[in-house]
C-alpha cells in the first residue's frame, strides 16, 4: 500500500482563511441583545465589532419633553442593576441646580441603599459569570444572596428591581421599621457567604486558568478608552467617583478603593469580589448611625432649573455614570446627556479581545459586566 504523501505549502503551515461570524444578538453570554461581528482566523479573534441599538429607546430625546421628576423614573430603565445610583445622579444634579440642601438622614439612607444595590449587582454578575464559564452552582448561590437584598428593597419601597426610591429633594418614602434589622441580618449572613464565593470560584484551578492572563487591558488604554468602574480599577486606573468627587454620605465613611494592576480577567473578577467587602464595610459604618429627621426636603411641585449647565457624576456598579443637563430655565431640559459607563466599556472590547480565542471572549465579556439597556439607552 502506497503511503499518502502530502506535498506543497499545506505541510509547512496550515492554510487558513479569515471569515466573519455573528455572536448574538441572542447569544446567552451577551447578557442582552448585543451583536458582535467577529473576524476570526480559526479560533483566533482578529477583530470584534459591536453592533448595538437593539433596545435603543431614545431616552435622551424623551427627557427633553419630560419634567425632572419624570426623568428620574426613566433612569431606572438604563442600568437596571444600578437603578438607585442612576436615580441619585439625576436627583443630585437637580438639587445642585436648585441649591436644595437635603437632610443628613437622606444622604445616609441613599448611601446605604446604593451600596446594597452595588452588592446585588455584583452578586448577579458573580453568579452569571460562573455560569458563562460553565459553573452552574455559582448562579444559584449568587441569586440566593441577592434575593435577601431584593426583599429588603421590596419592603422599603415596594419594588424589587426598578425602585424609583429617590426623588429630587430626598426619598419617596421613609425607610421601613424593619430596614435596619434586615440589613444587619443580611450583612451578617453575607459576611459568612462571601468566603464561599472564593472557595467555589476564585480558588478553582479551572476558573483560574480561564481568567488569569486572559484579556489584558493596560492602564493607558483603560484611561484612553474611558473604562471605569471595577474594570478600569483592575487595570490600575484610580477612577472611583466615590473617592474623587464624594457625594451623599461618602465623605464620612472609610473604605478602600480597590486597585489592581494585572489588568486581566481575573483582576477584574477579584476587584469586584473585594469591592463587595468594601460595600459591606460602608453599610456597617452607616446602618446604626442613620440620623433622625425628615426624609424629604421641601420642594416646589414644578421644578424649573435656572438657565445653565449641570453635570453630576456618581459611581454605579459599572463605573462613572454622568448626567449632563443643559437648562434654558424651563421645566424640561434643553438637552440631557447620560454618560453611561457601559458604553465606553463596550468599545474597548476590540482592543482587549484581539488575538484571544472565542471561548476567552465569553470570559472577557463577563468580566466587563455589560448591561445592554445601559449601553443602548
Amino acid at each position: 500500500m502506497s503511503e499518502l504523501v502530502l506535498t506543497g505549502p499545506e505541510t509547512e503551515t496550515a492554510l487558513t482563511q479569515e471569515y466573519f461570524i455573528n455572536m448574538g444578538p441572542q447569544h446567552p453570554s451577551t447578557h442582552g441583545v448585543l451583536r458582535l461581528v467577529l473576524t476570526i482566523d480559526g479560533e483566533i479573534i482578529r477583530r470584534v465589532e459591536p453592533h448595538i441599538g437593539y433596545i435603543h429607546r431614545s431616552i435622551e430625546k424623551m427627557c427633553e419633553h419630560d419634567s425632572y421628576r419624570q426623568i428620574v423614573h426613566l433612569t431606572d430603565r438604563m442600568d437596571y442593576l444600578s437603578c438607585h445610583m442612576n436615580n441619585e445622579a439625576v436627583c443630585l444634579a437637580v438639587e445642585q441646580a436648585l441649591q436644595i440642601e437635603v437632610p443628613e438622614r437622606v444622604k445616609v439612607i441613599r448611601t446605604i441603599v446604593s451600596e446594597l444595590t452595588r452588592l446585588a449587582s455584583h452578586q448577579l454578575w458573580w453568579g452569571v459569570m460562573g455560569m458563562d464559564l460553565g459553573a452552574i452552582t455559582s448562579f444559584l448561590y449568587g441569586f440566593r444572596d441577592r434575593e435577601m437584598i431584593n426583599d429588603i428593597f421590596e419592603e422599603t419601597c415596594g419594588a424589587r428591581l426598578t425602585m424609583n426610591y429617590n426623588v429630587p429633594g430626598g426619598l419617596m418614602f421613609d425607610i421601613h421599621p424593619n430596614f435596619q434589622k434586615r440589613t444587619k441580618d443580611f450583612v451578617a449572613h453575607f459576611c459568612t457567604k462571601l468566603p464561599e464565593y472564593d472557595r467555589l470560584l476564585s480558588d478553582n484551578p479551572i476558573f483560574r486558568s480561564r481568567t488569569e492572563g486572559v484579556g489584558y487591558l493596560s492602564k493607558e488604554d483603560a484611561i484612553g478608552y474611558g473604562v471605569t468602574g471595577p474594570s478600569g480599577r483592575a487595570s490600575g486606573f484610580a477612577c472611583d467617583v466615590r473617592k474623587r468627587l464624594p457625594y451623599s454620605a461618602y465623605p464620612q465613611v472609610e473604605f478602600t478603593e480597590i486597585i489592581r494592576t494585572e489588568g486581566d480577567c481575573f483582576a477584574r473578577y477579584k476587584a469586584r469580589i473585594l469591592e463587595m467587602w468594601e460595600s459591606l464595610r460602608i453599610i456597617e459604618q452607616l446602618i446604626d448611625n442613620i440620623p433622625e429627621g425628615e426624609f424629604q426636603a421641601p420642594t416646589k411641585q414644578v421644578l424649573k432649573l435656572p438657565k445653565g449647565e449641570y453635570y453630576q457624576r456618581v459611581e454605579t456598579a459599572r463605573g462613572d455614570f454622568g448626567v449632563y443637563i443643559i437648562s434654558e430655565g424651563n421645566k424640561s431640559p434643553y438637552r440631557l446627556k447620560f454618560r453611561s459607563p457601559g458604553f465606553s466599556n463596550l468599545f474597548v472590547l476590540d482592543k482587549v479581545a484581539r488575538g484571544s480565542k472565542i471561548a476567552d471572549l465569553v470570559a472577557i465579556m463577563s468580566t466587563f459586566d455589560y448591561v445592554m439597556p445601559d449601553i443602548d439607552r
Partner: protein, 152 residues
C-alpha cells in the same frame, strides 16, 4: 492645577479662545479650525495631561451645532470643559478627536447618528444605534416623527 493656572497656560495655545462662565467647571470655547491641535496639546503636554475624556455631547442650538468635551486628568486630577461650534446646522462638521482619545470613536459615532454632526477624518463614521437606512437625525430639535413621537 487650579483653574486660573490652567487658563493662563491655555490662553497662549490658540487665537480666539473664549471662556464661558460656569460655576462648576472651567470652560473654554475653541474655534473649530484650531480644535484638533488644541486637543492634542491638552493630552500631550505634561502640565495639562488631560488623558480621560469622560463625556462627549452633541448639542443642537438654533444656529449651529456644538460639541462639548468633558475632560479630566488622571495624573493631576483637574478638569476642563472644551466646547466647539460648527459653522452651521446644514452640514455641521468638526475634526475628530478619536485619534487622541480612543473613546471618542464611539461617542462621535453616536453624535453623528443622533445629531448628524460629521467628524472629519473619523475612521469609521457610520450609524451606531439606529439602522443604516434611517432617515434624519432624531436628537435634532426639528426632527419630526408623526407615528412614534407623542408630544403633550
Amino acid at each position: 492645577m487650579d483653574n486660573e493656572g490652567l487658563k493662563t497656560i491655555l490662553s497662549a495655545w490658540a487665537e480666539g479662545l473664549e471662556w464661558p462662565e460656569s460655576p462648576q467647571f472651567l470652560q473654554v470655547r475653541v474655534p473649530a479650525p484650531a480644535l484638533h491641535d488644541f486637543a492634542r496639546r491638552l493630552k500631550e503636554e505634561h502640565e495639562t495631561a488631560f488623558d480621560y475624556l469622560y463625556c462627549l455631547t452633541g448639542v443642537d442650538w438654533p444656529e449651529y451645532m456644538e460639541v462639548v468635551y468633558h475632560l479630566e486628568s488622571s495624573r493631576h486630577g483637574h478638569r476642563l470643559v472644551v466646547r466647539a461650534r460648527t459653522a452651521g446646522r446644514e452640514d455641521p462638521r468638526l475634526d475628530t478627536v478619536s485619534d487622541i482619545w480612543p473613546t471618542a470613536d464611539a461617542h462621535e459615532r453616536e453624535a453623528y447618528d443622533l445629531l448628524g454632526i460629521r467628524f472629519n477624518r473619523h475612521p469609521d463614521l457610520r450609524r451606531l444605534l439606529l439602522t443604516d437606512d434611517w432617515v434624519g437625525y432624531p436628537l435634532r430639535k426639528d426632527y419630526k416623527d408623526e407615528i412614534n413621537m407623542i408630544e403633550l
